[in-house]
Amino acid sequence: MKKKPRGYKQKSVQKQYFLRNPQFWSVVVIYILITLHHYDNLTSFRIMSAPDLPLGFSRHTIDRILYLVPVILSSFIFGSRGGLIVVAAAFVAMVPRALFITPYHMAALWETGMITLISTLAPLGLDLYKKQEVQLGETIEQLESTQRELHTTVEVSREQEKQLAVINSFSVMLSKSLEFEEVMKTTVDMVKGIMQVEVVLVFSLHENLEELRLIAYSGIHEDSATALERMRLGEGVCGRVAETGQPLMVDDITKEPELCNETVKDEQLKSEISVPLMAHGKIMGTLCVATRSERKLKPADVELLRALGNLIGVAMRNVNLYSERMVAAEQLRLSEKRYRQIFENAHDAIWVQDLSGTVIAANQAAGELFGYELHTLVGMDSEKFFPDKDYAFSQAIQKNLLNGLNGHHSYKQEIVREDGSKAYVMLSTNLVSSNSHPDGIQFIGRDITNEVRMQENQRFYLEQITKAHEEERLRISRDLHDSAAQSLIATLRSLEKFCEEEDRLSQRRLDLLWIYHKQLKGALQEIRQVSRDLRPSIIDQLGLLPAVEWLVEQQKAEHGLDASLSIKGEERRFSKEQEVTLFRIIQEALRNVVRHAEATEVKVAIVFKETDTVVSIIDNGSGFELPESLGELSRLGKLGVDGMMTRARLVGGTFDMQTSPGEGTAIAVVVPS
């Protein structure tokens, strides 16, 4: 429905087009003139007389040939269709003459047919030619556009190549030096050249302070630089970029009052681009370029600047890391130096052994302690200066250290010096490790030989006193037992014998003698009691265990204490002195229990182990507040405890006491076997 009016409209437009086209009319006029000429005998229109024509062609033959002119013209102008219409018109014009006017019908018809055929071929050939012409034009156009595209591509890649070269040289520059100042100075100059701008600013971001600091600039006055030294986050173009991390491009900053500050005005800046300096996704600062004339900024400019910004960001981060590392290295160097000074000048001997026991470092004091030159000491096996038994002990401690146990903070160790003499050191050991992997053991040793000697002397002195004390008691006890008691026994026997044999005495006298006998017996008992108290002969005659057993039973019998004795392990005998000493410790402990503890129960235990023997006395009494050091006990008047400690030391053992008010008291003495 819609097609018809449009088709009609098109036709009327075509009609109008034809009617107004002078070329159309020229074709029509030519056609008419030829037709008029062709029928000259009817129209009397004659342009030329009949010439002598070869091949028997008549003047009308020429007319007929002339019809080719409008046909070709029409074909040219309106295409093959136009040409064919004119052919048809020419045919129509030629046929009447050939049929009715000319006397040579056959020749005329033949001519007419030939001309019509030729004139039909002409528009078709022309059309073909025209089509080829159009195709050629199109091809050329395509080629031209391809050429243009190619050209553009080359241009672009050249541009990119240039940018890459710029970025490359830039990155080479940045990687060349780690001197921050130098890098930034070169950076701004290069950016200025690359971007062809007048002003370049580089800010670094101080995150915790939330501010930007101008670290390099070019193209602005010093005063402006001072004004721009610190910028808050979010302030101005750069402040915004630092805040958002997105580049910002302003063609005319004077039109943006929010972004325009005094410095921008002073410097008469117009166009500005600012990009963030990024490193590993972190904003390190901003890079800002600006021109004083208004310049149409291209996205490519931003991209390039952005690429440069990333390079600067990474470089900046590297510089930061480097300087941090430098600072750390310097600190390390200083602390190493300090440690070395301490190590070398320490009064205490310090040395480090590797895990196989070889000395790998030692200070002067260590050399002096062991009596070796330092270079001899380093590289020496520690077995050489640790005596066998102490070596094993030291090994055990090292093993503990390696296993993460730190039982001994410091301990006494015997060492053998170069000249074979012995010395004592108070050692503390530490594991030396790197990356949580143990490399060796550090020893810090203080020469305590003098202290140990003094202690030994003191101990020896105390031992002598205690021994003398014990001996004196033994002597008195023996004296009483051996002389007084024996004399009494002998006297008793004599008296007995006398009484039994003497029959001359009166019964009364005899009874009196028996009474004396009884009194003497009583005196004998008393003497034995005194003697026993001074030194129970049981310890001398039977040894420690029966003596302790006897002692425990005595507590039961005499004080009503629930006392018990347990013996574990295979019984071992000690020297008489040691046994007496241990007996005295237990005796003193039990005496304290009876006198002070208000206990109802006491447990004595003797445990024989492979390497030592543990004697413990535990009561359920009142206990007491233990001073910080057991040594203070004597000052507090607890001389009994002090005596026990001394005695424990005398037998080469250790003494330990655990007590608190209301919790009873536990005493443990450990004696090496």
Binding site: R493, Q525, P546
Partner: protein, 222 residues
């Protein structure tokens, strides 16, 4: 010579105090049945003389120089010298009693015992009878019973039932006469049974026999 033939008891005295030793000897020799054949001043001498003189009984003090009485007793028993030993001690502490009985002593006497009691004890021991007081015997049993690891161990083939019965009664502190009454036999038979036991166990006193039997778990007192 005549005396010896009428069952004289030959005694070795071990006592370091000359005075006490002399008074003891004097006292003992009042009795025609007793003869002190040797005197030792210390433990070592005691062992040597025991071996050399082979007395019927040894009376020894505990506290003596060099080797004490208990240690000397142990040594004599170790040498398989079958002589009963009576220990004289100044102390009645249980530990002494246990120690000296364990060492192989036949019995112990407190030093302030009267001469009469001493002589009586010597006679009883030489006959193989016990000199331990019943309360002491009880303590001793308690002590040694607990050390017997293999209670109710087999004694078959070693003793006759009669012998074990006699030993068990002896362990309960019965005298030979009491044992004889209980078993309905004569004292001589009891003495014979015990004698056989001593021989089999290679001991010289009933105390030693009882302690050994308790330790081995052959007899049970519960």
């Amino acid at each position: 010579m005549i005396k010896e033939k009428t069952r004289t008891i030959r005694i070795l005295l071990a006592e370091d105090h000359v005075l006490v030793r002399e008074s003891l000897r004097e006292y003992l020799e009042k009795d025609p049945d007793l003869e002190v054949v040797g005197e030792a001043g210390d433990g070592e001498q005691m062992v040597a003389l025991a071996e050399e003189l082979q007395p019927d009984i040894i009376v020894a003090d505990v506290s003596m120089p060099k080797v004490n009485g208990i240690e000397a007793t142990k040594r004599i028993k170790e040498k398989n010298i079958n002589i009963p030993i009576l220990i004289l001690t100044a102390y009645d502490a249980d530990q002494y009693i246990f120690s000296l009985l364990e060492a192989g002593a036949a019995g112990y006497l407190l030093k302030d015992i009267s001469g009469k009691e001493l002589i009586d004890s010597i006679r009883r021991v030489s006959k193989g009878d016990s000199v331990l007081h019943p309360t002491v015997v009880h303590k001793v049993m308690e002590r040694f019973r607990n050390t017997g690891k293999n209670q109710g161990a087999q004694y078959y083939g070693l003793f006759t039932d009669r012998e074990i019965e006699a030993l068990e009664l002896a362990a309960r502190g019965k005298t030979n006469k009491e044992i004889a009454d209980k078993l309905g036999v004569s004292i001589r038979t009891v003495e014979a049974h015990l004698g056989h036991i001593f021989e089999k166990l290679n001991v010289s006193s009933r105390t030693e026999a009882v302690i050994l039997a308790l330790k081995k778990g052959w007899i049970c007192l519960d």
